[in-house]
């Protein structure tokens, strides 16, 4: 085999090997799953008062039934899409909300396994009702579940951004 061919193969092999590494790194880049950063204008009063005003008006104008139907599948712009742990050992964990029931507790088969001495094995659950409104329910826990400082006694709808506290863990629903 000629020297030239071997040299070409030698360099070619190294090139292919590095190409594989680069492709693998590209896959990792495209695989940063779980989060997506979107820039959007704030819907605060000052930014675009007209538009947000119109939106509110439209939402209020929509008959309640229609809104409820929207809620079954994709709810409007104010529907939470994920649940975020904001305090405690699991800080930063997010779970996408896709109409499933989310169980919280120390039991190993919980959706979010709380490693928290103040949590019961089956502490609370979060589920959508028929209108797509997310509800938090305490499952008879020892130390209680708090929604924004008040202890839950009945299944309660969760406002966006309100902290649900279980022991040292706090959870929020976010868009």
């Amino acid at each position: 085999m000629s020297e030239l061919t071997l040299t070409v193969m030698r360099l070619g092999f190294l090139a292919v090997l590095w190409l594989f590494v680069i492709v693998a790194v590209q896959v990792i880049r495209s695989d940063l799953f779980g989060t997506r950063v979107t820039q959007r204008g704030s819907r605060r009063e000052a930014a675009r008062p007209q538009q947000s005003g119109r939106q509110q008006a439209r939402q209020q104008a929509a008959p309640p039934q229609q809104r409820a139907q929207q809620g079954g599948g994709r709810r409007g712009r104010n529907a939470p899409t994920k649940l975020v742990v904001t305090e405690g050992t699991l800080t930063g964990t997010t779970v996408a909300l896709q109409g499933q029931t989310i169980t919280l507790g120390r039991a190993h088969d919980s959706t979010i396994v709380l490693d928290d001495d103040y949590a019961s094995s089956r502490h609370a659950r979060i589920y959508p009702d028929r209108d797509g409104q997310w509800i938090v329910e305490d499952l008879g826990s020892t130390n209680g579940t708090y929604l924004d400082r008040s202890r839950l006694t009945t299944p309660t709808p969760i406002p966006l951004g309100a902290p649900i506290r279980i022991g040292k863990t706090a959870i929020e629903l976010r868009k």
């Binding site: 085999m1 061919t5 071997l6 040299t7 193969m9 030698r10 360099l11 070619g12 092999f13 190294l14 292919v16 090997l17 590095w18 594989f20 590494v21 492709v23 693998a24 896959v27 990792i28 695989d31 799953f33 779980g34 989060t35 997506r36 950063v37 979107t38 820039q39 959007r40 204008g41 704030s42 605060r44 000052a46 930014a47 899409t81 994920k82 975020v84 050992t89 699991l90 930063g92 964990t93 997010t94 779970v95 996408a96 896709q98 109409g99 499933q100 029931t101 190993h108 088969d109 959706t111 979010i112 396994v113 490693d115 001495d117 589920y127 959508p128 009702d129 299944p155 976010r174 868009k175």
Partner: protein
């Protein structure tokens, strides 16, 4: 997590969840790539050595492709949301290892040695068994959290596996290190390779329960959290065991691997830097202490400090000295930046263990620095995916187990590569996936399978919607 920047336009960037795609097709594409590269290397070796494409090219390529295909189908069926990179990376390393072992089989010099065996077909068999074990683990380990039940059984199992090589009649002292057992009819086995997985299960289960005590009860001193005396118990026990391994099995690598894995997991579980400081101090004290009186370890350390002297003594025919450490360095040196090309190096001069402990020297010579860097990066990517899996895992046990397994994998690569390159004293461990040896290949495929299982659980978009009793209509029975 949404953050508001205080720019005049009030832009809000929100970070939203994406329904993670399964990425199985990405994995398949990468897997095909990972099979093509070793086939290319195989053809290259044949062309360089005999001026012709080797006759076994088709069967080798098909064999590797078939094994990779089986593994891929297993993942597709049993872990559809698993990480797309772990399997292709491991396949590529395994394939390159096979080519390198086959290339060393062709060496006339090695063939003339008395204990020569054609290693490549055996390694292909081990790979097939490894892939089979991989699929079996995926089938039977439906949920990694099941392993948590076996925390203390794992501890016992790991201790048995570690002690086995010392049992008279079963253990075998192969070239100084007593890390082997002989199983009649099967050949020799390195139980330490499997112990690493079992021990990770134990550490994960144990630290998950005990981490609060280890993290919270501590005093602050000079910026470090000093744990209470009685909380030092576990680390002292593991340290003691790893020192015992070092003394009785005379293997620095195994000892370092287990102690290092425990320290890594302890650090991840408690977030206390002081454990790392303690761990480093204790391991260096232990290693120095043992090296000062245990002859085999002492010899290894001397060969590390002055490989040339060791080489000269060995050439003079003095017993107990080995020329390999120096030869490995020469192999890396003669490879240079771009290497000599497949099949054109002379790493077979490292006669003994050229295809197992010293396989990296062959890669260093024939692929050069560029090739070694790529290979180390591929190992690094496997570790990175393991750590990513740990970050994504939603249960503390899974997090710790994934960290433990990838940490052990990283440490093993470090210990072997560092040993061959002269960074640390040489040890008897094998390069995962590449080196010739059944236990190593089997254990590492099982390790990858567990990581894939954890990553599948972590990346699965959402648990199956549970039926919600409150959302259902109440059934009303009306008398008709």
């Amino acid at each position: 997590m949404s953050s508001t920047t205080n720019s005049p336009t009030h832009h809000t960037s929100t970070i939203g969840a994406i329904g993670a795609p399964s990425r199985r097709n990405t994995e398949l594409a990468l897997l095909i790539f990972a099979v093509v590269i070793p086939v290319f290397a195989y053809a290259n070796v044949g062309l360089a050595l005999d001026d012709q494409v080797p006759s076994g090219l088709l069967s080798y390529g098909l064999g590797l492709g078939l094994l990779a295909g089986v593994a891929h189908l297993g993942v597709r069926k049993f872990a559809p949301y698993a990480d797309p990179l772990l399997l292709p990376l491991a396949t590529l390393l395994n394939g390159l290892g096979l080519v390198c072992i086959w290339r060393l089989d062709q060496s006339k010099l090695l063939q003339s040695l008395p204990n020569f065996v054609t290693a490549a077909p055996r390694q292909l068999l081990y790979t097939a068994l490894g892939i089979a074990l991989f699929v079996v683990v995926l089938i039977f380990l439906k949920d990694h959290r099941v392993l948590q039940r076996y925390t203390y059984i794992s501890m016992f199992g790991a201790l048995v596996l570690l002690i086995l090589p010392l049992v008279p009649g079963l253990g075998a002292n192969i070239y100084g290190a007593k890390i082997w057992i002989r199983v009649p009819g099967l050949g020799s086995l390195q139980p330490g390779e499997f112990a690493k997985i079992v021990l990770a299960v134990f550490f994960a289960g144990y630290l998950m329960v005990k981490r609060d005590a280890l993290a919270l009860a501590s005093r602050r001193f000079m910026g470090l959290y000093l744990p209470r005396g009685r909380d030092l118990g576990p680390i002292l026990v593991v340290w003691g065991i790893s020192i015992l391994i070092l003394v009785f099995e005379t293997d620095l690598g195994t000892s370092l691997l287990f102690f290092g894995m425990f320290v890594i997991m302890l650090y991840v579980a408690t977030e206390r830097t002081s454990w790392i400081v303690f761990g480093l101090l204790m391991s260096s004290a232990g290693a120095v202490g043992v090296a000062s009186f245990e002859p085999h370890v002492k010899m290894r350390v001397q060969a590390w400090l002055d490989p040339m002297k060791e080489y000269t003594l060995s050439q003079q025919g003095q017993f107990g000295h080995s020329e390999q450490a120096m030869q490995a360095l020469w192999a890396f040196g003669s490879g240079g930046t771009l290497g000599s090309g497949w099949g054109q190096g002379h790493s077979d001069l490292i006669k003994f263990a050229a295809n197992s402990d010293f396989i990296l020297a062959t890669f260093g010579e024939e692929l050069g620095l560029a090739g070694i860097m790529a290979i180390l990066l591929i190992y690094g990517l496997i570790v990175e995916r393991g750590v990513r899996t740990a970050l994504a895992a939603r249960d503390p046990f899974g997090k710790l187990l994934a960290i433990g397994l990838s940490g052990a994998f990283a440490l093993q690569v470090f210990v072997v590569a560092g040993g061959v390159m002269g960074l640390i004293p040489l040890t008897g461990m094998t390069m995962p996936f590449m080196a010739y040896g059944g236990s190593s290949v089997l254990a590492n495929w099982a390790l990858i399978a567990i990581l894939i299982r954890i990553s599948d659980t972590a990346r699965r978009p959402a648990p199956a919607p549970a039926s919600n009793p409150d959302a259902e209509m109440t059934q009303v029975v009306r008398p008709s």
